[in-house]
Amino acid sequence: MKEIRIHARAGQGAITTASLLGYIYFLKGMYPYAVPHFGAARMGAPMNAFVRVDSKPIRLRSQIYEPDYVLIVDATLMRGFNCFSGLKDNGIAIINQREGVEIPKVNARQKVFLVPANDIALKTIGRPLGNTALLGAFAAATGEYELEFLVEAIKKRFPAGLQDPNIKAATQGYEFVKNSTKG
């Protein structure tokens, strides 16, 4: 069983990201359970979403306190509070890079990947929606799934016009990490 926690601000598509990530696992034939953690707050307020996945149906319904992976859609959230809380000590964090936000120290076995997802998105999609780029990076960083599944998910879930741009974004996110890791 793997547990992923996604941090974002209400309105930044944490839920779409969670459900897209879940859908990738679904395509892999696994049993994901994706659920948002709603507060009562509005656009701009911090919120998060959870994805829990296993090879058999997920029954555990609690929130995620000790994620294997954290995906931080908005780096400014790290100013507010600790997005890394409970991250497994071999855990991996993928962060939508943003200047002027310093990254908390992590222990030796934890990995942090800074991905310029919004810049990628701006170039590929034309709007600063880094979610697909982040999921590309996630694939490369965690090896949870091959890029193909993400591409297929995008094809299934996005309206025609938005598929190619998002596939581009996903691929570039993927490559960004691949390159940064090798050498």
Binding site: R9, G44, A45, T76, G80
Partner: protein, 87 residues
């Protein structure tokens, strides 16, 4: 026995919504201000202060960067700038 029931007046001020500001924020030029108070009136956060001309400014602990102050200023004396920009 009593549990959580009533809240204290104005206690929301402990919630610093300035951190919600991610893209842009207002800059009060304080050049051509005529103290018409419109910015102060229109701010959804009620976080603008000022009395005399060219004294108007906002409290960034709460400003969400919506941009309405800039939009309403008859003198274009408020402009929205990238969050990162230094004063």
């Amino acid at each position: 026995m009593f549990g959580p029931l009533i809240s204290k007046p104005g206690s929301s001020k402990s919630n610093k919504t300035g951190s919600w500001r991610v893209e842009i924020r207002p800059r009060f030029l304080q050049k051509n201000c005529i103290a018409c108070k419109m910015c102060l009136l229109i701010c959804p956060e009620g976080c603008i202060e000022g009395d005399a001309k060219n004294t108007y400014h906002c409290d960034f602990t709460y400003c969400k960067g919506c941009g309405n102050c800039a939009a309403i200023c008859p003198k274009a004396d408020i402009e929205m700038v990238k969050e990162e920009t230094k004063e």
